[in-house]
Symmetry: C2
């Protein structure tokens, strides 16, 4: 790092710790509640044994990537074409000997670093939709302006801890260059941690380069000398039991650079896995084990998150369904299996198949969000904004889900059993037949006593009628517009900003635009 | 019982076990999942000790009821005016020595008997709203026609196990006689178990008399010689720490006749209990202990359910709020305390403060329904229909909540770990890179594999658009109308029907109409 980089960095760090930062909500949730364990030792051990059998007897395909096959062979796997079979226990051993149980993902504002794993939960916007929806315009293709809007909204809410990744696809930009604009927007308009590009290995390389510029001589960790983990990126397995070359390429780049990857079987149960909860969990465990073990072969100790995205499909029309009981059962199971393995777990989110943010969206989203917090999910991608099975990012839906995220944090904080929490003094003061509205304990505690939603309407029918009979979508519509109008960007060092723009400009010039992924 | 009564009964019982009954869903849920325990031994013991302190030092008011005070004094309580203080452990001992851990509530169709307590969960319609709402008419006062409509809907859904009680208030009938019409409608239009009247002791007596006519010489249990438990009725404490004469009167009648009562502190936390989770739970436990102990004094062994209705209030406008995290924490806590005490537990429901069945209703209801099933609630009053903090019974909302109830049952059934559930054969058959849609295991299981909602839309955007872009409320509106149009009443023995009508007619004639409760 040059001396000028070092000076910039030191200025930037000072600037970022402004007084306003210090009154922010916690950078992530630390759960004080126990995890809900659906199965006991016997059931979980059975699923682990079955997953081992899949790895040993059926195997996993690693497609079109000789380097991966060579690495796996050297580690002791049996290679048959693209099929890789693992001796019993090999994957588990590679992961448990090397992968961290929890790790820090660094934000450009160190107050917003997040710890991923253990009792910590990081809530993250939804990811990957080509469309957006709002009450005024309905459904339309997403643009970079939408992308930036959602970054601003995620930055402003105290209830999300992360800026996310491909919050929506900016389809107005060329496919092979839009990752530059997405990364830059995350950095420019937010100071929360973000995700990297996975759609091609060279885009992963760009992500790493951009992190190096952003962090300057703070890129390497002082103690370990290794790169800091600045991005967490989403590597989907092609279920059943397949890793394709694109994902393996991106995974390899990130692992080599100590950047975190989420290894996620993406499963529509009944189509991409057996039409059963235990069968789906078994397959997902085998897939995850193979992917995470491979990451440890690339760079022992690189942070990995075990991910599981599982929905079931409608047996009537083959469409994915959300908020139904079977995916919840799978989620609980995978969280338990992940804890036994000893790696952070990603799952959950505000899933639904609703076309608009109607009542279906509400039920289904809550049905997906609550199990995730009860199960002890560490990284909850898709917490906010998801509509229509992930095809649409909803503006109003985003606001609603952020409100729910705030409630999850309160729930995860558990029960206050301090003397003040026990409140015996209040019960003594008030006694039978009276009310607590004016008692000392209430006066001392009412400000922070109960979660206050900025968008739910608890007024009387008469007041609600007088206010225009607005539904939740209408109230959320007003809320997001106010947020965008009030947005103030976090400070970004001008030299770093310029360096980022220069790198991006140069790279964009170096190859032609293309819309073929 | 007369000979003719005996003959009627025997005909009725034969008639009720028709072929169509045998293909009904299970009469109640038996949970195969563990209960989610938020606190460990130390925390729960602390709350129990604090509740004991309230009972011993502060005491509970039993208002305007000398018989109750005399009974309590004889049992060892200290009486000071209407204030009753209990020696440490007395209430717990009375309950644990006498109250059943679980009991059967009998339905006129014995296939629909429910077991209340233990690993069983009974889902029950909402209760007590003066208004109804549907998409066509908006919000209006409820009538006996609405009341009957909801009984029909509850009868037809396989997902509710109970006909409920005051599903909505038939305000077109005189206050002091409407209990006759409500009870008769439950019996006439459904064969599921139902709740009794609690608004005056003599209405509780009417309820018991009607049960006697309905069950004839089957009213007494063959083995014990005691009356069968045919009704479960809702006794609310007037929090803080008060039982009024009306509720004590109804409680006494039911307890004496071996009819079940739900002893429920009804709490808006912050107004009727301390503005904290632990404080509210402590007070509710003390109140419940006193009420249930009193029931055991009236008739040792009479079935009681420990109930807890707790919502928090908005610290902005004092209105009750629902679907927020604090009531969930209280619910989990009360369920654990109830299990330790060894009595069935009532709580939960599709609570919300929404004025219409909009997205707020969806989120908040799911946020209240899920904790109830995870906590192991045994009797879930208010499962379906609740809107506007309980002021409104929604037709469409009822259908939506029934659908959610169906999902709760699937979730509570847990994970199938049989060989078929493990589905290894499917994974072997399909292998990496292929799909499961046509494999043997899928063909054998797809019919019952995943929960199918009759009202959620999982179709593509294009299909949804073609179908008229209906939201969930619109689809539920069509669904409930179809149900009412298709309704077929369960058979009711003509002699019993006539006897019920005769009793009701006679009683109605015996005193003038009044609308002063």
């Amino acid at each position: 790092m040059s001396g000028s980089h070092r000076r910039r960095r030191s200025r930037r760090q000072q600037a970022s710790v402004s007084p306003s930062d210090t009154i922010q909500a916690p950078a992530y949730i630390t759960r004080k509640i126990p995890e809900y364990e659906l199965l006991g030792e016997e059931g979980l051990a059975l699923i682990e044994a079955n997953a081992d059998k899949i790895l040993e007897e059926i195997g996993i395909n690693f497609c079109n990537n000789n380097a991966a096959l060579t690495r796996l062979k050297q580690a002791g796997a049996a290679i048959d074409g693209e099929r890789v079979r693992f001796p019993k226990g090999l994957c588990r051993k590679l992961i448990q000997d090397n992968a961290p149980k929890e790790f820090t993902q660094h934000a450009r504002n160190p107050l917003k670093n997040v710890i991923i794993g253990g009792k910590h939960t990081v809530l993250v916007p939804a990811y990957g939709s080509p469309f957006v929806r709002n009450l005024d315009e309905g459904r339309r293709y997403a643009t970079i302006e939408d992308f930036i809007n959602f970054i601003k909204l995620a930055y402003m809410t105290p209830h999300l801890h992360h800026s996310g990744g491909t919050i929506c696809e900016p389809v107005d930009l060329p496919v092979n260059k839009r990752h530059f604009d997405m990364l830059y927007s995350h950095i420019k308009y937010s100071d929360k941690p973000f995700m990297g590009s996975v759609t091609a290995p060279e885009r992963a390389e760009d992500t790493v380069e951009i992190c190096k510029i952003l962090f300057g001589d703070n890129y390497l960790d002082n103690d370990t000398g290794k790169p800091k983990t600045i991005t967490t990126s989403l590597i989907n397995a092609n279920s059943p039991m397949t890793y394709d070359d694109t994902m393996l390429g991106a995974l390899t780049v990130y692992a080599r650079n100590n950047q975190a990857t989420i290894i996620s079987p993406f499963i529509l149960a009944g189509a991409m896995s057996p039409v059963s909860v235990a069968g789906t969990a078994t397959q997902a465990l085998a897939e995850g084990l193979a992917g995470m073990a491979y990451a440890q072969l690339v760079n022992p100790g690189t942070p990995v998150i075990f991910g599981c995205f599982a929905s079931s499909i409608s047996m009537t029309n083959g469409a994915p369904t959300f908020g139904t009981p079977e995916p919840s059962l799978i989620l609980y199971l995978m969280a338990s299996l992940s804890r036994r393995l000893g790696v952070p777990f990603r799952s959950g989110g505000g899933f639904n198949a609703a076309k608009t943010s109607d009542t279906q969206a509400g039920y289904e989203s809550a049905n997906s969000l609550l199990p995730a917090i009860n199960a002890g999910v560490n990284f909850m991608l898709h917490t906010a904004g998801w509509l229509e099975g992930g095809l649409v990012m909803g503006y109003e839906k985003f606001i609603m889900d952020c409100d729910q995220a705030g409630m999850l944090a309160v729930f995860a904080n558990g029960i206050d059993l301090s003397e003040n929490g026990q409140a015996l003094s209040a019960i003594e003061e008030v006694g039978p037949g009276d009310h607590y509205l004016g008692c000392t304990h209430t006066k001392e505690n009412f400000r922070n006593a109960f979660y206050r939603s900025p968008i739910m309407d608890n007024n009387s029918f008469e007041q609600w009628h007088e206010d225009g009979e607005l539904n939740l979508t209408q109230r959320a519509n007003a809320f997001y517009k106010k947020q965008l109008a009030d947005y103030q960007p976090p400070e970004l060092d001008a030299d770093i900003d310029a360096a980022l723009c220069e790198y991006i400009k140069k790279r964009k010039k170096s190859f032609p635009d293309s819309n073929i992924s």
